[in-house]
């Protein structure tokens, strides 16, 4: 009895939250469900900010046609699998919601994919994990899997720079970073680069003195660092302080493409190579306009995840509009339209976003280099 009363009060509390998003016939209801708190907040919060800006702009521009608009709400998956499961389950039970943009990453994204496929409810997770795609036809990924991004930096290592002996530092306790690192290792090994050492740090670590001394005193002609931006900058600082030969090229992946990287690393990260989908400030009309309006709205410059969120929302909006125009404004209609998106203008990569037949996203990458405290496109 007591149990029931408690559960009922929980239900009504939830109903109040959802009532905020009123439904009209010409409203396209999408929920942006990202990690606003918890371990992946540095991704999810930024993606959500970018996506919200995009949705507002599209509504303002009348993108969906006369009188129509996208109605969106932002929810927090809290980087917590259980809460994600319950939120998506509940959203799936609300027939007005067409799709969810989210959840963010890791096991949370995977959990979201499970429910989505079980309940036939389209989700576009932020992650790049192919397992989400393989989980079923209703779960999509927004970012490019390692098999697409890592060749950019691996080719640059082996061919453009012609390096031969690489030391690798990765994160041991985060699956996304491990996956990127493994991909890089196999690509450069194939290209004939020798891996001289492999070390894993924990995300919470900050003491790299022993590791830095070990690498600074060993023999290699490049160091690849596959960690988050702030941690990577810190590792590079400690490597340089431990006396690493300043001419040794240091390479990283797209996690480094964040203002934090330069801010934390200062002079130590000068000349570091990395890949990024986003060139800060933008590198064509669309992306420059985005950079400007984002900074005007938020008061700080957009980073890679803001740009990703903004781009992802463009794709979602096109899919929703295509479904509506095809007269099939159902979850299944949106799902089909999403998987068929081709050459959507975005602000990241090579500026167009497409899903292939396997629903793998492609928008390209750029090899960047830190020069004079800013990201610039690396010399070919």
């Amino acid at each position: 009895m007591k149990f029931k009363t408690l559960m009922l009060s929980a239900t009504s509390a939830a109903a109040v939250t959802l009532a905020g998003v009123a439904a009209h016939a010409e409203d396209y209801k999408v929920v942006i469900l990202q990690s606003l708190t918890g371990g992946a907040a540095f991704i999810g919060k930024n993606v959500a900010d970018g996506a919200v800006l995009a949705a507002e702009e599209l509504n303002e521009k009348g993108f969906f046609g006369e009188g129509n608009q996208m109605v969106f709400s932002v929810e927090d998956d809290a980087t917590d699998r259980t809460q994600t499961l319950s939120l998506i389950t509940r959203l799936a039970a609300d027939e007005d919601v067409l799709m969810v943009m989210g959840p963010t990453s890791g096991s949370v994204a995977m959990a979201g994919a499970n429910v989505a496929n079980e309940r036939e409810f389209p989700v576009m997770t932020t992650t790049n994990s192919m397992e989400v795609v393989e989980n079923g036809p209703w779960s999509f990924i927004m970012t490019q899997p390692a098999s697409i991004t890592m060749p950019f930096i691996a080719d640059y290592t082996a061919e453009t720079l012609g390096l031969e002996r690489c030391a690798i530092i990765g994160v041991k306790d985060n699956e996304a970073y491990v996956a990127l690192q493994r991909m890089y290792e196999s690509l450069i090994t194939e290209a004939g680069v020798e891996i001289v050492s492999q070390d894993g740090v924990a995300l919470a670590d900050s003491d790299f003195s022993a590791l830095a001394t070990k690498i600074a005193t060993s023999d290699q002609d490049c160091v690849f660092i596959g960690t988050p931006a702030a941690q990577g900058a810190n590792i590079i600082l400690q490597l340089k302080q431990a006396g690493l030969d300043p001419s040794t090229p240091i390479l990283g992946h797209n996690a480094f493409a964040s203002p934090t990287f330069i801010e934390k690393g200062g002079a130590a990260v000068e000349d570091v190579y990395l890949i990024g989908a986003w060139v800060p400030g933008g590198d064509d009309d669309f992306s420059s306009a985005f950079a400007e309006s984002f900074e005007a709205k938020m008061g700080f410059p957009a980073d890679e995840w803001n740009a990703m969120g903004y781009s992802g929302m463009q794709v979602v909006a096109h899919a929703v509009r295509d479904a509506a125009e095809a007269g099939n404004l159902t979850r299944d209609g949106v799902r089909q339209a999403l998987g068929e998106q081709k050459d959507i203008p975005v602000v990241v990569g090579t500026h167009t976003y497409s899903y292939d037949e396997e629903r793998v996203p492609y928008f390209g990458m750029k090899v960047l280099q830190v020069k004079d405290g800013a990201f610039t496109v690396a010399p070919e």
Binding site: T37, G38, K45, D199, T213, T217, Q241, G243
Partner: protein, 296 residues
Amino acid sequence: MLSQQILNGLVSGSVYALFSLGFTLIFGVQKLLNFAHGATFMAGAFIAYYCTISGLPFLLAIGFSMLATGLIAILIDLIAFRTLRNRGNAEFPALVSSIGVDLILVSIAQQVSKTQVLNFPFGTFPIKFYDLFGLRISLLQIVILAVVAVLVAALIFYLRKTTFGRQVRAVATNERAAALLGVNAQSVYLQTFFIAGALAGLAGVLIGLLFNSIQFLMGEPYMLRAFVVVVIGGLGSVQGAIVASLLLGVTQSLAVAYLPSGLTDAIIFGLLFLVLLVRPNGLFGDINAVAGGTRQ
């Protein structure tokens, strides 16, 4: 490379010592595990960081941060420990309530920092390197070693030679007998918490500076390390904690240098297990207890 790694380990170990001393002091006096010690350490780094970026001179920021973490520790005692202690048999309840305090402090720091990794602005402390018999040592490392050595000596002097230190040890050994001799145990508790908090706060600042990184979760690995330190050194033993901290720092450095670095944790926690098996009271648990061994 070997001697360089030992040096790295000694520097890390000396900061572990600073961190663990307060933890072991509280255990020595109260026989309670203060799980919020890691969060106090984190708070020290945070407070000094925000003081520094708001323009306070760095030394003043350190002083302010130590004062603040000392007071935080006193609050922890008042909020989480006092009622439980008065009720008796507080060992388990106190662990739980200090975990509660830990969650609160970490959550606040998470909100304040928006989960970002912070670092002291460049130039907060001059980066200079010296070549010492082929060893590369930074000014900061020298300062840290010196500060820790001075503080540890001061703490030992304080516990051994001053009236207050004797009161601390009296309460640690036998609280009731101490009360009958006119020792005010409550004030001893508050003072040991203050000292423990201030030392943890300083350790936080030093770690934040040395490794260039301040974040809301930074306390957790240090808390786990402190468990290793106090078990190997003997819970409540000040000398034991110092020796064990340095040993741990060096072991860890060498493990990273010569073994697969992914195994470091398994190695140090395995070591802890081994010590518990062979010597349940720690390597130095019985002989060198300063803050008191087992309560009579």
